[in-house]
Amino acid sequence: MREAFILVGVLCSLAGIAQAKPVTDGAGRQVSIPVKVERVYAAGPPASMLVFAIAPDKLIGWTRAFRPDEAAFIAPKYGALPELGRLTGRGNTANVEVLLRERTDLVVDAGSTAETYVSLANRVQQQTGIPYLLLDGRLDAVPDSLRVLGKALGEEERGSMLAEYVENALRDIKGRVSRTRPEERPRVYYGRGPAGLQTGLAGSINVELLEYLGARNVAAETKGGLANVSLEQVLAWNPEVILTTDPNFYAAVWKDERWQNVAAVRAKRVHLAPHLPFGWFDFPPGANRILGLYWAGLLLYPGAFPADLRPRIVEFHRLFYHQAPTAAQLEALLGEPGVLPK
């Protein structure tokens, strides 16, 4: 009798494999995915966001638990999902066993599709037998990633709908940028870290937004990722706008006399990117940056972008986070010192 049960079980699981559908991921890998995907592990924050946007009930956890101020923007039943750690190139905190324990149907990662990440995906897939989807995290690739993920999750319609939303937003942004004259494009410095002296070089994912908006990144003479620069170099660049993600630096820049002669400080064009529930400018480098594009666009080209960000934020939150922010939350987001010009 017991044997019969086991046999039925084996047959059923074989049938499940037989019903697999092939999906081509962002790295061009052919991944065979079960027809019914119910439990999805996202390997890093950008992937979490995409899975959450398409099928929040299939997400089994976050890579890092929300802090209270972040959790306020997410429905409690999703905000309370367990912390599972991350499983991606930048230092793993998750154990592969967790994937098995959680009876995961699918692993999704979004970001770089370089050889390192392809091999990581292949290894985890081989080791666990769980299909592993690697999506391209660049802004231009977000619509495709949403479509591929929608198909993999059996939510093609919702995936396409979100993809169209992003496509329209990106097209709208490109149109607005292309209507500005080249001489209107300001020279921008992106200052990270507590002293504001880390920046993103040409081609780094950290300044993808600036490049997308056609702004002139002062550090773009060198290609690379993140780097330290000297204050003297920043003074020599004399940027017209400074964008930062660090509230400590934002507070210090107005007090430190050495920064006072920088054009951006004189013109009061130093701005702090909102970070709730996910950063708008840089981290994590996911679809959350769509809002950042409108925000930075407004700061860089004041006339060319809609001055009121609220409708955009409400729509984006409703689509991607399944909950529109309250009036008080909107005020908190946009009213934080430095987010918008006074």
Binding site: P45, R64, R86, R90, G91, T93, R192, G193, P194, A195, L197, Q198, L201, A219, E221, T222, G224, L226, A227, N228, V229, S230, L231, E232, Q233, L235, A236, N238, T245, P247, N248, A251, A252, D256, E257, R258, Q260, N261, G279, D282, F283, P284, P285
Partner: protein
């Protein structure tokens, strides 16, 4: 001119030339005329119209950084010289009792908690002092052991423990935001030196230097075995505590603003000893001159060779190793 005097004269000359060069070059273009004019205006009250930002660059950005390189370089070299003499071991660096590792843990904690720069530096300074205090307390309360050996061993194990604390915080840090900041701090840099940091560092470094200079004659006795030193009337235990406290104060102050810069505290004392011999009173000032000149040279390169900063830790070894090997081969003086 004696060999020692020649070494001093050469080191001073090199230092002056380097200071002039360091003020003259940088990423922000400043003409020699403006540089001289700015100093004339500042020191002699002459009037000299300067282009925008030049005064800020010279007196608030480049100047403090030059001074910081001198102070940090001298402090690390002095601490290294004192430690090598006291522990009678040429492989000893100022981090032997965990001051740099403790400071690093403090700074990493500050970054992990997203604090501002001032707090991060304060954490680093406090971390350095606390680490050495802990090592000294444990090491000196172990009975029936050679006191130096007990200190060294305690320093090594506590250092490892602190290192694992750093590793844990790196692991838990936000990989997009905090991890790069931690990595850059651990690589060391003088890029974020602020004029207001400088006074505090100089004061602390001087406070550490004063006892070393006052005790320079007795320092030589620490190189003797404990019983012989005691026979000459030296309270080795107390003297050792004073020297450790002084060296720790200097190193912690330096590391708090510069991050981890290795090599100088280990190799510069050797270079000085090759030039002038092991007498502490003569050795200490030369080691400080060499340390200051060397870090200034390295930092000037760090901030000028590319539009991005090069970490000094990369250049110290690249420049220092050939220099040291040449000195080693050319010298006949013993340790």
């Amino acid at each position: 001119m004696s060999r020692g005097a020649a070494a001093y004269f050469g080191a001073l000359l090199a230092l002056c030339a380097l200071v002039a060069l360091a003020f003259a070059i940088g990423r922000f273009p400043v003409s020699t005329g403006d540089l001289v004019g700015a100093f004339g205006a500042k020191l002699l009250g002459l009037t000299h119209p300067l282009p925008e930002n030049v005064e800020t660059v010279i007196f608030k950005v480049r100047g403090p950084r030059v001074l910081a390189a001198l102070i940090v370089g001298a402090a690390l070299a002095a601490a290294g010289t004192a430690y090598q003499g006291m522990f009678r071991n040429p492989l000893v660096s100022p981090d032997l009792l965990g001051v740099a590792t403790g400071a690093a843990l403090g700074a990493v904690l500050g970054i992990f908690l997203s604090r501002d720069v001032w707090t991060i530096q304060a954490f680093a300074f406090a971390g350095g002092l606390a680490a050495v205090a802990l090592v000294y307390w444990i090491g000196s309360s172990v009975p029936r052991h050679d006191p130096l050996l007990a200190l060294v061993l305690t320093g090594i194990v506590i250092g490892t423990l602190l290192g694992s604390g750093i590793a844990l915080l790196k692991y838990l840090a936000d990989p997009y935001n905090q991890l790069p900041a931690i990595t850059y701090w651990l690589l060391g840099s003088l890029a974020s030196i602020n004029p207001s940091d400088l006074g505090a560092v100089a004061l602390l470094a001087l406070a550490g230097l004063a006892p070393m200079l006052l005790l320079r004659w007795r320092m030589n006795l620490l190189a003797l075995p404990d019983d012989e030193a005691r026979a000459l009337g030296v309270d080795t235990r107390r003297l050792r505590l004073v020297v450790i406290a002084a060296a720790t104060l200097m190193t912690a102050a330096a590391v708090a603003v510069s991050g981890i810069i290795g090599w100088i505290g280990l190799i510069i004392p050797h270079a000085a000893r090759l030039l002038i011999g092991p007498n502490f009173g003569r050795l200490l000032p030369l080691a400080m001159l060499l340390g200051a000149a060397f870090l200034l040279a390295v930092d000037t390169l760090c901030r000028t060779i590319a539009s991005i900063e090069v970490p000094p830790g990369v250049l110290t070894a690249m420049l220092g190793t050939p220099f040291f090997l040449w000195l080693f081969a050319a010298s006949r003086k013993g340790w």
